[in-house]
Symmetry: C2
Subunit: 528 residues, 2 copies
């Protein structure tokens, strides 16, 4: 395509949202009009299904649930007045709570103010809050946030060690829908012990964000925790950033949560338009479908040219891959759907893997995110008439152009600045794009059966561990790994048992291994 035709294509496809100052450019996805036309019937269905979803249809059939994250930013859309009221009230409670914490009206027993907050959660209860904290928290927030988002003992120790002098002024958020997910439960138990170790009454520092009447909610209620906020069964973890899950940590850090909700609402309005060319989420879904033939054949590489958006790709990994990465379609056919997502930030990544993007395996399309505002205030000149921000802008343009010249497709999203409104809008844009794409490829974008399966597989390993320990505690002589497996009634799990033993041995948990560690069958195992 010559320069003139390309400039025409750019203008033809340029989407601009005046209220948000947001641009979406899909001109470098090399689809043609016939392709767009061919998808029209699918899009007609997608727009219709999405309208039903917003009205409260059971859009997550496997779990028999409504999908209502759009109601969070426009409570009037909720299917019942009770739901509307609950959303509005929760938001007010969050704001009131955050204000009281920040002013010191709510304060810890031994200090005038809370200075820090530990947020304990995983998956949807971590990635959104982490992304938003990195993108939007002020340099000196009223409360400084720390995350425990794993079941890693050393990681928990590091966080607690950093806070050891501030624990008496540190609020703890425990975020878990059921309260039973192991990682947040483990984190909570360990943190609780740390508070006890400092003679601090955990309940006076703790806030629960959980389903009403979950086990966690009951504990928080009976122990009189500082506060409890609800998680709804009609909001999935990966779309929960605008629920209490995301809003409580954001508000505590002094982030303008109303602006975030407003930005999302404006984007929701824009992505409700049943016209592909004038709907930015539909343009994204169209582009993804085109690039990967509706089968995820290309990876989505996400490159925000702005440090504060570093975690956006990690946030999108969950939103996109957990939503779209499905074995079966809605008719039960095996489809192995999904789109792989990765990326960090530009121009940093131009000095890392962009070499491969430009020249190597053409197994991806890129999404460049441009932020027009370089910084607050004027910039010094690096060279005459040139600032560091001009360089950054030049890197983005140069990379986009070079990818195109090498037949690598790209999308460019442009926002005027990184603020609560544009971040809310970005989240809403991708939520809707994922929802629409899910309908285009006929999958349930709102469940996660593989995650449940993973929890079960881990539980089976822990069960095996206890059987192995029971065997060893009865034995007086050392056994081989095979013998232990036999006695534990798990002759087909010798390898898993070997690994359990190796782990227990390293952590001095009363297991002695003798022999050559590199030759598992040579080992003799006993309880110490």
């Amino acid at each position: 395509m010559d320069a003139k035709a390309l400039w025409q294509r750019y203008q033809n496809w340029l989407y601009f949202h005046e209220g948000l100052g947001l641009y979406l450019d899909v001109s470098r996805m090399r689809f043609d009009d016939a392709f767009v036309e061919s998808l029209q019937p699918k899009f007609d269905k997608a727009f219709a299904d999405m309208a039903q979803l917003e009205k409260g249809a059971i859009a997550n059939p496997d779990e028999n649930r409504m999908v209502g994250h759009y109601w969070l930013r426009n409570p009037d859309l909720a299917p019942t007045p009770e739901l509307t009221q609950e959303i509005v009230q929760t938001l007010e409670q969050i704001e009131a709570f955050a204000e009281k914490v920040q002013t010191g009206a709510i304060h810890p027993p031994r200090a005038n103010r809370f200075t820090d907050v530990i947020s304990i959660g995983i998956g949807g209860s971590a990635l959104g809050p982490e992304f938003v904290a990195e993108a939007l928290a002020p340099d000196f927030p009223p409360l400084k946030i720390h995350f425990i988002d794993n079941s890693d003992p050393a990681g928990i120790d590091r966080t607690l060690n950093h806070l050891r002098n501030n624990l008496a002024s540190t609020l703890v958020l425990v975020i878990s829908k059921s309260g039973g997910t192991p990682e947040p439960r483990n984190g909570m138990i360990e943190v609780k012990k740390a508070y006890a170790g400092h003679n601090l009454d955990f309940a006076q520092y703790a806030v629960a964000i959980t389903s009403p009447d979950s086990n966690l909610d009951k504990v928080a209620k009976s122990e009189s925790w500082l506060a409890r906020f609800p998680m709804y069964d009609w909001v999935g973890g990966r779309t929960s950033e605008m629920s209490a899950v995301g809003l409580v940590p954001a508000a505590l850090q002094g982030i303008d949560i109303r602006a975030m909700l407003d930005g999302a609402k404006e984007m929701d309005d824009a992505t409700r338009v049943p016209d592909v060319k004038n709907n930015p989420a539909a343009l994204l879904a169209l582009s993804w479908y085109f690039s990967g033939n509706g089968r995820g054949e290309k990876d989505m590489v996400v490159l925000p040219y702005k440090d504060s958006l570093l975690l956006f790709s990690r946030y999108l990994q969950q939103l996109v891959m957990e939503s779209l990465g499905k074995e079966k379609d809605l008719d039960g056919n095996i489809v192995h759907q999904g789109i792989a997502v990765y990326g960090n930030k530009g121009s940093t990544d131009q000095h890392a893997y962009v070499q491969q993007l430009r020249e190597g395996v053409p197994n991806f399309f890129a999404t460049l995110i441009e932020v027009l505002e370089d910084r607050k205030g004027p910039s010094p000149e690096i060279d005459p008439g040139v600032t560091a921000g001009d360089y950054l802008s030049g890197f983005l343009q140069g990379t986009r152009q070079a990818l195109y010249e090498n037949q690598r497709d790209s999308i460019t999203v442009t926002i005027p600045q990184v603020n609560a409104r544009t971040v809310g809008a970005l989240i809403a844009l991708y939520e809707r794009a994922v929802g629409l794409y899910g309908i285009l490829v006929n999958i349930n974008a709102y469940h996660q059966p593989g995650v449940e399966a993973g929890k079960k597989a881990a539980a089976a390993i822990l069960d095996l561990q206890s059987r192995v320990l029971a065997v060893l505690q009865k034995e007086t002589t050392a056994l081989s790994v095979e013998q232990i497996a036999e006695k534990a009634g798990a002759a087909d799990q010798v390898e898993a048992i070997y690994k359990i033993l190796r782990h227990l041995h390293t952590n001095q948990r009363g297991i002695v291994l003798q022999g050559n560690l590199g030759q598992p069958s040579s080992l003799k195992v006993s309880a110490s």
Copy 2:
């Protein structure tokens, strides 16, 4: 394969390095003996070429350079006594410098000690130091490190703002081979201005890590900076962690750099063995080749089950993708090689994209990294007989097993703990695996032509910007974007010019845009 056969396969292929306590398990890569045999001739060549490389052959023909990162951990291997001596002396100088900084023998003009360090660098001058800091820095390091690894003005402001009360006790490392790479140069210029703004003499806080006689080196020398350390032309950026680039920041943070070098040396010895089955790097290269048919058809997903290894995948993105992502092979054929790499950490990612890994597009193989030691000291029980670390271990085993059952291949690397020795060993393991794989697929793994091209593309945009500004400064009436392009002699770059103008306009750089921002051809542009 039944459980017994699988257990046998596991033991057959299990690699164990006794000195390092490191295991490598490739039993879940479903290659057979015939495949291994078929690659033997390629491996024979790879081992021979690698031996030549280590002896100082010009292994990077395009840039006519030796590839000598292996000499850094075993200076006796360097091809000349002068090089050996230079490596040894530099290491001693780094240790002496770090000690003096830590004891206060070298201190800033207005404080007894340096408390913080800003490390300015990008690509290989950032990813290694960042990974190592996250993995190994003590919770309360003698100097706390901060990174400027981009040309983002807002990002630079954030770092400097966090340090505003400590700038007078903050050391600055400027890491740039040539000194001319824009991102570190821009970072340095902005940081220098910040020091001047606080009436601090930058030279008394600054350290250069650069090629001897580069422009940066000359500046540092003439301004009498605190110290200068060399970057060698025979060490590529992505393999420079064991050079001054990685060792200076590590040593300042109190990380045991000798142990890191020792771990790498032990691994180098192990990966020099010309026997695939007894060489862990060869086992990795074999597995990668098998999985992607030697053409990078599958992505490498890296999942360390340990918070402190979070940045390992980002480090590997550069090491693997920049090394292997090449358009041409060594014979000049167009091959579009590479392997895409992504990942964060387990079990966190099990609540994000592992849903797709288990069920969705089978376009990847996984690398699970297991750390046997849960934490320093004993763990509390979460349930009777079960710790948080047992859960983490169970998650890893469960995920590996589920992937296998769903025909998704995986590699497992096991280390006893995260320490300087094992991190050095991991880096060396992957450096060698990438080197061997590069030979298997016949590409130059040591240059990065696409990165150079990216720099040129950005420079062209900046040049266009200055031409556009020159045009506007002469005009008295507003012009359309097309007219400006015409007058700037760049009629085929209207779109690039529109974007330049939009960026300048947003940042109040003397450009006025009138009209509909969403319709570029409607705009009238003038200088204010």
